[in-house]
């Protein structure tokens, strides 16, 4: 298993390299000049040219690319054109907030979404199921911005229970997590319901029932572990997306995370910031995908067997033909 993990980690390096080159090239060709934004509206073209030279923006594509890659392998992401702050430091500073927000959102979505999905699957097509599916549809259709503002108006402005902006103790995270997680909660609930419906009709569920074990055990020990694979896929995907920066939530609640940083970077053509953020996202996605695959292996031994197939001893090899008998 460790070999598998090691292999995957090594595979990440060329992938990230390709992403780096791609994003560099993309930003290079996207029209728009960062320098005029840095210097402000009143800058003269002469001043602009000077600063362009200083930032190396007048060098050829290859020269800029090699410089960039050289710095990259030393883990130097450059300094923001706009604020002058080193991109790597900014990413490190902001990452924990995005991580915390994302983590809480996913946890919240899973804790509520999975049980909702299960109970809907068990009461498929009955009234309770229809009501909950409608509610989840409502939640996933709500624009995050609108929902966030409504929540703030109610809980912060009207009732005064929670702060509306900023970071600090756990109470600062309640509204952002709530507004951000309802959408993915809906997705997880629906997928859980669909997976469970499929699994419940399977034969081994009948076997389990016929053993006389309790219904709860049938659902949680037999049905759910088998329904998990597509659910885990969705959770992994959602996690990855959110780590890329829950931009709207961060911007409304003024949470200093990666999302806002990247958005400003893009608008300002702050090349180092954009490159750094994209690489960060690619990296996080790769890690999340790896973790997801490992969770698959943990949940389903058939998948685990595929990962460690090389190490299996021949004596334990699965006999495919039925000539072998005991």
């Amino acid at each position: 298993m460790l070999r598998y993990i090691g292999k995957r980690l090594i595979q990440m390096i060329p992938i990230l390299m390709v992403v780096a080159i791609l994003i560099f090239t993309l930003m290079y060709f996207v029209p728009g000049d960062p320098v005029k934004i840095i210097l402000g509206n009143d800058a003269t073209p002469v001043e602009v040219e000077k600063v362009r030279d200083e930032l190396g923006l007048n060098d050829s594509y290859l020269v800029q690319l090699t410089d960039y890659l050289k710095n990259l392998v030393q883990l130097n992401f450059g300094d923001s054109f706009f604020s002058g702050l080193p991109v790597r430091d900014e990413l490190m500073n902001r990452f924990p907030y995005t991580l915390m927000l994302t983590f809480c959102c996913i946890t919240c979505s899973v804790i509520f979404g999975v049980p909702i999905g299960i109970s809907c699957a068990l009461r498929a097509d009955k009234l309770a199921d229809r009501i909950w599916m409608f509610i989840t549809l409502l939640w996933s259709s709500m624009p995050g911005f609108w929902l966030a503002l409504l929540l703030v108006l109610l809980f912060s402005r009207q009732l005064g229970w929670l702060p509306s902006i900023g970071i600090g103790g756990p109470e600062y995270f309640i509204l952002p997590v709530l507004s951000n997680s309802l959408g993915s909660l809906a997705g997880i609930a629906r997928q859980t319901r669909a997976s469970m419906l499929e699994v419940i009709r399977a034969d081994f569920i009948s076997t389990a029932k016929s053993k006389g074990i309790s219904r709860r055990e049938v659902i949680w020990k037999h049905a759910l572990p088998n329904a998990l694979i597509p659910i885990i896929t969705i959770i992994g995907g959602g996690f990855g997306m959110m780590l890329g920066g829950a931009t709207i939530t961060e911007s409304i609640f003024s949470i200093p995370g990666i999302g806002l940083y990247m958005m400003n970077g893009i608008n300002n053509r702050d090349y180092p910031v954009v490159r750094g953020c994209i690489l960060y996202i690619a990296f996080m996605f790769a890690i999340i995908m790896l973790i997801t695959d490992l969770v698959y292996a943990f949940v389903d031994p058939r998948i685990k067997a595929k990962y460690v197939r090389a190490k299996k001893k021949p004596a334990k090899a699965e006999p495919e033909r039925s000539e072998v008998t005991c």
Binding site: D203, F204, S206, T207, S210, K211, I213, R215, H222, S322
Partner: protein, 329 residues
């Protein structure tokens, strides 16, 4: 209707069982008034083609019909003089796995892919016999060996076993708590002929050792001949002929039963073509008023189509549902 072929106690008595499913808006009449008895140590073969309702009967006895699809259940199922249909879920859970067990049709999908076989066998043991993990595992290992699988494989997963071995595991699970009644739903249908023989031998051996009663569901008359004491022929959700093995095999009386036997190729005869039964079973959502077999029966009359008849006694324990018999008898 009670039989007295043996002096053993009456273990199971199914009376007027009816089961309707709902499917896509219409009602499927899967079981339409089935009654039979089973005594301790007996083995009953339920024979019929696919869709006749045999599995539904089995699942009814286990009370594991699918909740969402089942529309209506009627009748009584007495197990050791208690009506299973009236029992609460908790009591049923006590009976399932420990007094009545089931072996399912398709071994490939009957086992939970993410649990080790040892865990799956031990689960029932832990539940019913209240053993701790270690002891339960020991018992599971013993069970595994009883069905002829090496103890080294206790921690392996189902995907590491072949079809025949999987079925053995399923049998191990079913018999782990020494149930008094084993219901086997087409246990060998999905297996090669050679493996079939091994699995049947295993079942017979275990029956001999533990005295388990057996309801064997199959469409294969050869398997019935090999394993069962009694035979019930099921067609369109009802029993059309029932009797001891000899009675039915030597004197098949219902046209359907006769058709079944006629459809078996005889090794010693050189026949130009097989004679399968013409036509298809009736649509279970629209069952006819009269005899369900009338459309396919070479002897059908107007009266057959007009009214539905009861099971009529022929001789000994042999009963048939046919107007002809009624008239002759």
């Amino acid at each position: 209707m009670k039989n007295e072929t043996t002096n053993n106690e009456l273990l199971l008595s199914v009376q007027d069982l009816e089961v309707d499913y709902s499917s896509g808006g219409s009602t499927v009449c899967a079981v339409n008034g089935v009654s039979f008895d089973l005594h301790q140590g007996e083995s009953l073969g339920l024979v019929g083609e696919t869709g006749a309702g045999k599995t539904t009967i089995a699942k009814s006895i286990m009370q594991i019909l699918p909740d969402h699809a089942t529309k209506r259940v009627a009748g009584e199922i007495f197990f050791k003089n208690q009506d299973l249909m009236q029992m609460k879920e908790k009591e049923l859970q006590n009976i399932r796995g420990s007094q009545i067990s089931m072996v399912f049709q398709d071994p490939m999908t009957a086992l939970n892919p993410v649990m080790t076989v040892g865990e799956q066998i031990a689960e029932g043991i832990r539940h019913h016999q209240h053993l701790d993990k270690a002891h339960a595992k020991q018992a599971a290992i013993k069970m595994l060996e009883t069905v002829g699988i090496s103890r080294d494989r206790i921690d392996e997963y189902p995907h590491q076993f072949s079809g025949g071995m999987k079925q053995r595991v399923v049998i191990a699970i079913a018999l782990a708590c020494n149930p008094e009644l084993l219901i086997a739903d087409e246990p060998t249908t999905a297996l090669d002929v050679t493996i079939q023989a091994q699995v049947l031998d295993l079942i017979k051996e275990l029956r001999r050792q533990k005295g388990t009663s057996l309801i064997l569901i199959t469409h294969d008359l050869g398997v019935v001949a090999d394993t069962c004491d009694k035979v019930a022929v099921v067609y369109a959700g009802e029993i059309v002929e029932i009797g001891s093995l000899e009675e039915v095999f030597d004197h098949p009386s219902h046209p359907y039963t006769k058709g079944l036997f006629g459809a078996i190729p005889d090794m010693y005869k050189d026949v130009a073509r097989l004679s399968p039964i013409d036509g298809l079973p009736p649509n279970p959502t629209e069952l006819p008023e009269g005899c369900y077999f009338a459309d396919r029966c070479p002897h059908a009359t107007e009266e057959c189509r007009a009214r539905h008849c009861q099971l009529e006694h022929i001789t000994g324990t042999h009963y048939v549902r046919c107007l002809k018999t009624e008239q002759e008898g």
